[in-house]
Symmetry: C2
Subunit: 308 residues, 2 copies
């Protein structure tokens, strides 16, 4: 089943202990779409500027991603510059130029309207909600956010959360949004805001999915933790979380039934895609990836965690 | 098979967000012995003072732990006072009174000499080595250490590492000892110092075992990660790592063959015992525990991580 994703398509300049890249293809929707494209049809809603050329379009085409919802506007594309020199786990932002993204008005192509899955990547919650409301027939909605929206745009964010099935955020964001240092308590507070599931991404330690209480209060038993691969070299952490989301949601969209087993495997595929993303700069590794490599790493993750 | 453990038996005064306890039974060897006693016969080598009375002896007797190697010396027992008010993941030490521990000369009772497993809890590496050398016939030796010994007593520690099969330390200690920010590279550097296996404890994120390269360089494939239970309340983190070690090593000692499967299950039992230890102050939870509860939580950990 097809996924529509709304979010940023951007240029990133990135510095890490492994080196530096200038203006490579980036943006949350880009990483998400590339990762999810190994599992299902992906359709992107975004805006880019006149600097977005054939070189940037090619990776989408190579993965058969539908980009008719990527609007071309006068001006420059969203540009982000960040450094991981001090801390590989958290980027230090040097520049954020919204450019054409500052006036982004998401437009949904008619051909996208039968999408059964919707992913709201990390953008202004006002825009997330607008897209959500414009696609009332989707079967499953997931989304991401970040501390900036949690701290400074909470009322708008809370409206988005009420319309979400699954929220995917990291430990710090969970603690901030849930208002508790304890992750389990914070997760429960977040789940009370609307989502049925909360996927907390722990970076190098994997990810945990928490469920809202069912009628029999069986939520705790369904908690599931996927590992991350202990990696010898993290070249560039940019996009790891969005790639996790793409693997997770892409795999779910490829399944006939949203069974508990499908969600568990989706958590593993999320971790798998995140582990690939960081092996090279920007989207380089995702562009070179094959489904065979993905499934081989999935088995490696099973080996890494399973008793038998 | 029996385990001999050498380490501290102490009094702890502990402050956490959940409250405060004065002079409760503590010490690395105590937590280790209690945790391991659910799996196999445990024998303790330590020294205590005149303040160690029947109330402190009782928990050992209740678990049939052999304490003839706990020497009674004139003076006071080792005393530690710490606070977790600022950070539940790392104690702030307020007081360390070595007392009788300052002149500790480990003496090994004859009845301990047929022990096939030896655990060197976190004490002066000079003492660790002395005990190791005095028990040349043990089948498997594991040990722990801490940043103080890594930073200020490295030559003595390196001699201990050469005689160890398994080292169990946390992330920070691994990075410091291995001299690399990247955990995998740091682990490889530590393994080059002697141990065949390195168990890195990640606190709330579980633990990972790394193996030294075998003749076919298959080490990476045998890496295994055990989860930790996402806990709603951590009452007192003191002793979690020693309880992990006790569950891990105790389970191994209870097995007929040291198969790869036995090591994987041992990692899970380590996480299980660590998760119980933090539920109450000091050793309270370990004292109340039953094997039935341990196995039930083992199954919960399997549920938490396994795809099928």
């Amino acid at each position: 089943m097809a996924i529509t994703v709304v979010g940023s398509v951007a240029f990133d300049s990135i510095e890490t202990p492994a080196g530096r890249r200038e203006r490579c293809l980036g943006g949350a929707a880009t990483y998400f779409a590339l990762a999810a494209s190994f599992f299902t049809q992906v359709r992107v809603i975004a805006v880019v500027g006149e600097d977005f050329g054939p070189a940037e379009q090619a990776p989408f085409d190579a993965r058969s991603i539908d980009t008719q919802g990527i609007e071309r506007a006068a001006g420059k594309s969203f540009f982000w510059e960040g450094s991981y020199l001090e801390n590989l786990n958290e980027a230090k932002t040097r520049t954020t130029d919204l450019n054409v993204f500052g006036a982004f008005e998401p437009k949904i192509p008619d051909a996208y309207r039968d999408s059964e899955f919707l992913f709201l990547a990390n953008i202004d919650p006002v825009l997330q909600r607008r897209v959500r409301d414009a696609m009332p027939n989707v079967k499953l909605v997931a989304g991401d956010t970040m501390n900036y929206w949690i701290n400074d745009h909470k009322p708008a964010l809370l409206e988005v959360l009420r319309g979400l099935d699954i929220l995917l955020i990291n430990d710090t964001e969970t603690r901030t949004l849930g208002g508790d240092r304890n992750l389990v308590k914070a997760a429960r507070a977040v789940l009370a805001m609307g989502p049925r599931m909360l996927v907390v991404k722990h970076g190098e330690y994997g990810a945990t999915v928490f469920h809202a209480s069912g009628p029999n209060g069986e939520a705790a038993e369904r908690t599931f933790r996927a590992p991350a691969l202990p990696l010898e070299e993290v070249v560039d952490p940019t996009g790891a979380g969005d790639s996790f989301a793409g693997g997770f949601f892409g795999y779910l969209a490829s399944q006939n039934g949203l069974t508990p087993g499908a969600f568990r495997r989706a958590m593993f595929y999320g971790s798998v895609m995140g582990s690939f993303a960081v092996e090279r700069f920007g989207t380089e590794r995702l562009q070179l990836l094959t489904r065979h490599e993905i499934d081989a790493r999935f088995e490696q993750f099973r080996e890494l965690t399973h008793l038998d």
